[in-house]
Symmetry: C2
Subunit: 320 residues, 2 copies
């Protein structure tokens, strides 16, 4: 498992490079919810998401020989950019394997951080390709969430939040593969033992909620949601037992609620958050959870969104 000490050690490791992102409050949101809400702005983290914390923590613990050989990661999303940037900062060659139809903007951003990009066809098996590239080139595979160094790194977000805001009654965390959720739950239960921790998923990718309720690791077939960071078919072998042990409840929100809340945050809080980044805030603002009278922490986990896509969504909402 992962301990709070692992998170504290990760924090020391990443401090020189990761931002201590601001914790923001909003009188409007406090009035709406009757709670005192503290938003941890990981959309303002380097490369635009919390993912940098875990990636930098993982890469910096490789042996000198592993660092020399380099790393490989499989992602079309924020993990790709996180590994690419951490690699550049640590002088570790990074290879990122992306689907051939990955958005050009993300491919360019990842290449911009100096990574080598390998594109794969939709019909290729990602796992097999990973093993093949790793074996052929002697690269260390950096998984997106199911690794203790990743979990410990992501947990530093909640550590900073509670250090800055003080003990919480409730912490709401977006959930995809559960790396952020499990790390934050471990940190919160250590620093603020009375704090209830809840994970928030999109309805169209509710595997973790099913797993939580059924107390077994459920895998779903084809996650379908605008929250692209939560299109994971299941929690991991490591993150599932941590979620079962430290998380108090799971909630879901639908894509309509999510898009509405995401743009509300843009317009009212002046923060660009991506759909996955707005999951926890949506649970709060759509009143999926009783928050009145509580001191609440909300992780805004990322802000990497294509503005043209967002503009089309705004105009679609307007037409309805």
């Amino acid at each position: 498992m992962v301990s709070f000490e692992d998170i504290a050690a990760a924090h020391e490791r990443i401090k020189p490079q990761a931002k201590r992102t601001p914790v923001l409050t909003s009188a409007t949101i406090d009035a709406l919810t009757g709670a005192k809400v503290h938003f941890k702005c990981e959309n303002l983290q380097r490369m635009g998401a919390f993912k940098f914390r875990g990636a930098y923590n993982a890469l910096s613990q490789l042996s000198a020989e592993e660092k020399r050989r380099g790393v490989v990661a499989f992602s079309s999303g924020n993990h790709a950019q996180a590994v690419a940037l951490a690699g550049r900062l640590l002088g570790i060659p990074a290879t990122i394997v992306m689907p051939i139809d990955a958005p050009k903007v993300k491919v360019d951003a990842t290449r911009g951080y100096g990574a080598e990009i390998v594109l794969y066809q939709k019909n290729q098996n990602r796992e097999d390709l990973a093993k093949q590239i790793s074996a052929e080139r002697g690269l260390s595979v950096i998984p997106p969430f199911d690794h203790p160094h990743i979990v410990a790194g992501q947990g530093t977000a909640a550590k900073e939040l509670i250090e800055d805001a003080g003990p919480l009654d409730l912490l709401l965390v977006p959930c995809g593969g559960g790396g952020l959720l499990s790390g934050c739950a471990i940190a919160a239960k250590h620093l603020s033992p009375q704090c209830r921790v809840m994970g928030v998923e999109p309805e169209g990718g509710n595997d973790a909620t099913q797993s939580f309720v059924q107390k077994r690791l459920v895998t779903i077939a084809a996650p379908d949601t605008i929250a692209d960071g939560a299109r994971t078919p299941s929690l991991g072998k490591l993150t599932f037992p941590i979620v079962m042990r430290y998380v108090d409840d799971m909630l879901t929100v639908n894509d309509t609620e999510l898009a509405r809340t995401m743009f509300w945050i843009w317009e009212r809080m002046k923060l660009v958050v991506e759909p996955t980044g707005a999951l926890a805030a949506t649970a709060l603002l759509q009143q999926k959870v009783k928050a009145e009278g509580l001191k609440v922490g909300v992780i805004l986990s990322g802000g990497n969104v294509d503005l043209r896509w967002a503009a089309a969504q705004v105009i679609k909402q307007q037409d309805h």
Copy 2:
């Protein structure tokens, strides 16, 4: 005139209610510019802009009798919301006079802060109407920029920036009527005497630049720019001499540069800024000023933008 002591006193007055907004940095922007850039995020201020600082400072210095009678302000923009919110917090009745074609979203926001809204026809003279309402109802007029309490309040933004970031080589400030610019220039020259202070205007509303160059108060006929907060026909009788004394230079940017930079900030810094709020950042990022090797402060002055308007702009840019 206005002294640094006035700004320090204003700061004590507004501290209980105004946010100490975060100062953010970006490794990407530092790499692009060769400078160390510190962004003062007044888009994250209460009601979404620095205007709250001046309004709260001005309203809190009214006499008990003036507070009882109430205040009136003339604005379709951020000053309206600032006076409305400051009035609500101080228990002072606020009347806001807006043009009949003001965007519904701004009228609603202002009314949401508890202000009474008076709409006027386009053919009515605003100044006359102001005097009339003020006289009839015994209300104190709160001007948008040309008042020492407003200037002192706005100067607290630069005071906080320099306190948090340390002395600067260069400070870039958006300029409309010059309230923010003159207040920030006074604060910067006191706290960081070596700091050059530059004001940034839209080309389509370059009255302050003309005044600065010609050393006389120039009024332009019909400012035309997407930077609605800078559609002022001239500096004020108070702000003009302060700008002449404390500001080192004026710069202009065109609307194309402004829109491009504004959305770049949304996408890369994850901050929603309005066109006027992006003026200073545009001067830096479009290389209107030599910044290499310098420690630079940039005021992001506000973030109140209609998302539907912004979405249409994004799609228009895409089509070109």
